[in-house]
């Protein structure tokens, strides 16, 4: 594998406040140029925190971060001030979960796209506006010219999310972070937006991190999947590996709890218990209290990610992995 576009090493994020929460605990992963990584997990597993950390969006006063983030040759952790502003929305940009809340309600969609472009490039307003129009057409917004002058509240949810994507693509980012981009949308619109994202990704050759708790959506658009639990990546691998041969009991549980082929009168399979409290993580594996395979070792020591037999890039962090580890 050539040098990855994004490389994250041992990322730790803690939030301070009335309660201190360990949101990320030693997250490491790579993302190749043009690759789509699906980040799966329940609420509070650290998916969104990971994305926000990549853009350094957490309030500095209440957050402590450690670890390494590199995008291309940029050391993201060291970025400050103007360089950080250029990086945000320039090299890496983000599509938010709820497009109804992610636009400033008092400016037109066009103004907000133009503002982004002009924050990164020295071009005049007319050129920027022409580019905004091009972007709106590219994300298949009908009557794009008219919609450029529309306020966010004048658009439907799906239209707004398309406009949000146009805004995120405004400065041709190499990495697009999509934070549950379809969760707030109607089911039919969800599929359209997913297909659009995949199409744009292929056309532009960008890398994408796609955060979702919808396994179906993740499988649809991703090349690789990473499953998060308690602020750690517990399993990662190709879509086929993770979905067909899950190695971590949590992944297996997550896959089993999707509503497919369950007879009507049968109880839906669910993972017992509740997600862990990030303010009081157990010393061992965070999933141990809910896991049927848990042993004393699980409760005492955090397992590291290790390669599974058959595919070096299929890795899981489990003392009792459901597959044979490559180096047992």
């Amino acid at each position: 594998m050539s040098k990855p576009l994004l490389s994250v090493r041992d990322l730790n994020v803690r939030f301070h406040g009335e309660r201190n929460a360990s949101a990320l605990n030693g997250v490491s992963f790579d993302l190749a140029e043009g690759e789509v990584l699906g980040l799966l997990g329940e609420s509070g597993s650290g998916k969104s925190v990971t994305l926000r950390t990549l853009l350094k969006l957490h309030p500095p006063a209440r957050t402590s971060m450690s670890g390494q983030i590199r995008v291309g040759d940029t050391d993201v952790m060291a970025l400050q001030g103007r360089a950080l502003e250029q990086y945000r929305g320039g090299m890496v940009s983000m599509v938010f979960q709820d497009p109804g809340l992610a636009f400033d309600p008092l400016y037109t969609v066009g103004e907000q796209i133009v503002e982004t472009i002009r924050a990164h490039e020295r071009i005049d307003a007319d050129t920027a506006r022409a580019r905004a129009l091009e972007l709106m057409e590219r994300v298949q917004i009908p009557q794009a010219r008219r919609r450029l002058d529309a306020y966010p509240f004048e658009m439907s949810g799906g239209m707004r999310q398309r406009a949000m994507i146009a805004l995120a693509l405004a400065c041709r980012p190499r990495l697009l972070l999509a934070d549950e981009p379809t969760t707030a949308l109607d089911a039919t619109v969800q599929i359209q937006v997913l297909l659009l994202l995949r199409e744009l990704q292929r056309e532009l050759g960008m890398s994408v991190i796609f955060v979702t708790h919808d396994i179906g959506a993740a499988v649809e658009v991703s090349d690789r999947l990473a499953v998060m639990y308690g602020g750690r990546i517990v399993e990662e691998g190709s879509v086929a590996d993770v979905v067909q041969r899950p190695a971590h009991p949590y992944t297996a549980g997550l896959l089993a709890s999707t509503v497919v082929d369950v007879p009507r009168d049968q109880a839906l399979p669910a993972i017992p218990g509740a997600p862990p409290d990030l303010a009081a993580l157990p010393p061992g594996c965070a999933f141990a209290p809910r896991c049927a395979h848990a042993s004393a070792q699980c409760r005492e020591q955090v397992p590291a990610l290790q390669a599974m037999a058959g595919d070096e890039r299929h890795r899981a962090a489990c003392w009792h992995a459901l597959l044979q580890p490559a180096h047992a």
Binding site: L57, R82, Q86, M94, F103, D104, L106, A119, Y151, F153
Partner: protein, 315 residues
Amino acid sequence: MFAYIIKRLLYAVPIALAVTLVAFLLVHIAPGDALNAIAPADAPAETIAALKAAYGLDRPLPVQYGLWLGRALQGDLGASIATGRSVTSEVMAAVGNTLSLAGVAAIIGVLAGCVLGGIAGYRHGGWVDRIATFISVIGVSVPHYWLGLVLTIVFSITLGWLPAMGAGPEGGWFLDGAHLPYIVLPALTMAVVPMGILTRTVRAVVVDILAQDFVQALRAKGLGNRRIFRHVAKNAAPTVLAVAGLQLGYLMGGSILIETVFAWPGTGFLLNTAIFQRDLPLLQGTLLVLCLFFVLLNLLVDIAQPFIDPRMRRT
């Protein structure tokens, strides 16, 4: 947009009418007889009756109201019972004085409130926030006539820097060299309450806006703090404008104590005089003009809002 403005203007008409009715009736409900003030206590019944007829006080109330309203619409608020001078000109002179005082006080109060509240909102939870909140609580709770007296003692009597009473010499602009010293103390005293209220409002609005997703989205798309501040300010503007408008309205009429402490010849001072002299026409006229000011200010604020917030342009 145009339809909204027309609609809002039309709403103001019944409100203004209701205001005239209240201004007229309140004075009649109040105890005491206007004639006591001008007629001697032992005046014969015929004299009293003649006086009543002269001022139209012998007619039924609805007729009195109709006549008064009809004349008021033409700009005639009658003559003061105590001085015999035209109420309209007395009130207008007082309104001019109060407007300059309230205007200066409102500008000081609103500016100070926006700055303090803005800083507190941005630094909420920190020590700057606590200091600003403390100042605003003091501002809202301190009795302002007391503050006026203290300021007078310190700056006029002890230090002798500023005059203690009056609005300065006749004629000239109210902010020229001869008049400026007179307005400083009353304006500062008056600015304290709106400053406190604006600080609290701006702080709450800014905290609320900063917690919204779109601010994080603005940061994520690479905007600097200065540009983000412009978005925050614009989003805060409608609320701040509404509260500031109300405060200016209160200052126009609510300054009886301050104008009395500083002997400022404004509407508060005039109201005070009219009440003690039971000068019915003067009291009615002053009340009416003040209330109409309030209605007008609210109207202006309502009309200004949709220029800032596009969502309000849809009616």
